[in-house]
Point group: C2
Chain length 212, copies 2
């Protein structure tokens, strides 16, 4: 029996560079992560493979899946639905794979409700970390720029609080390493391993009783 894998939700504000960091992680020679194939209602394009690029489904099918609570998260863009089917994710997790979803913040908050024991990683732009520095140097900024930055910073800090980890995307390689370390150390967390030890103990004790 393999241990159940971890659901890793990798998210952050749009434009922060989630896709680049995710690609770096998946390109690592030691990568063991899986990604889940999304479902969409948009038309299949030439060269795209159903079940590989996307699950291409009708609007009715998609809505039915949502209705049945079988969509981890979804959103509508330009008139089409995009979402993460729960079943495919659960299957990979049951097989013992860690599964990474790279999704927008709104999607991440939906997943959090369904899978509270997922690992939620927020990628933040370096400028949020450099707020203090900019504060000092800000003689160069107009009041409007400062005000815009403040609104954005306030929103991002607010979003962070629903996550487990915050990492800065200063250098892509470093950000990718941080994510990999987080995934490794999450496997050592007591709430994730103690069940395994308890199950071993129980199994052991049952065999002892059977022997008597």
């Amino acid at each position: 029996m393999r241990e159940r894998g971890l659901l890793i939700v990798f998210s952050g504000p749009s434009g922060v560079g989630k896709g680049t960091v995710r690609a770096k992680i998946f390109d690592s020679p030691d990568n063991n992560l899986r990604y889940s194939v999304s479902m969409t209602t948009r038309n299949q394009r030439p060269g795209e493979v159903d079940g590989k690029d996307y699950y291409f489904r009708s609007r009715e099918y998609f809505e039915q899946t949502v209705h049945e609570g079988q969509m981890l998260e979804y959103a509508e863009y330009v008139g089409n639905y995009y979402g993460t089917p729960l079943k495919a994710v659960n299957q990979l997790l049951d097989e013992g794979y860690d599964v990474m979803l790279e999704i927008e913040v709104q999607g991440a908050l939906q997943v959090k409700e369904k899978v509270p024991d997922g690992v939620f990683i927020f990628l933040t732009p370096p400028d949020l970390g450099e707020l203090r520095q900019r504060l000092t140097d800000r003689g160069t900024d107009s009041d409007k720029v400062i005000e815009e930055r403040m609104v954005k910073a306030r929103e991002e800090i607010h979003m962070m609080s629903a996550y487990d980890y915050v990492i800065v995307n200063d250098v892509v390689d470093l950000a990718a390493e941080r994510v990999k370390k987080i995934i490794e150390t999450e496997h050592y967390r007591v709430e994730r391993v103690i069940g395994k030890y308890e199950a071993m103990l129980e199994e052991f004790e049952e065999k002892e009783v059977t022997k008597l």
Copy 2:
């Protein structure tokens, strides 16, 4: 202003090899951890330096320190007290250093009460992880050996549950790497960084108000 450091409590059953793993971590070229000097009531031996090897204090002084709630944890061995003074640890943490205590399980549980946001790492012997394997192979074990192992395994699993992480001491170098990764990733936990971002934002906003 440096961020306050983390208190790392490294513990586990006696004989598991805590000291060896701790030494490996402190010997790393990139080590930034500090350790705290313990207080004891035993006699100073030739070559030992007060304030370096131990704080050598009288029984009265030690008991007074405990009474004032200024001892993170303590125990009595062979008629002498040994303990970790809170003040020295707090000073290092305030200076922004991560501080590692390598202590017995009873001491770790005392620290947990005083510093719940410490990072509690339980080092477990590989044989607990190999329980399942041994179960399969156990034709060779006498009932007495099996019973002893069961009592020990039950105790250890019970102790684990108060910790944050469980790592296996299979290979010293690997165990040391795991601890180092845990310390790094704990610095990315949202509850440890969000205050920093909020403080920056607040400071920024205060200056804006002042400017008006």
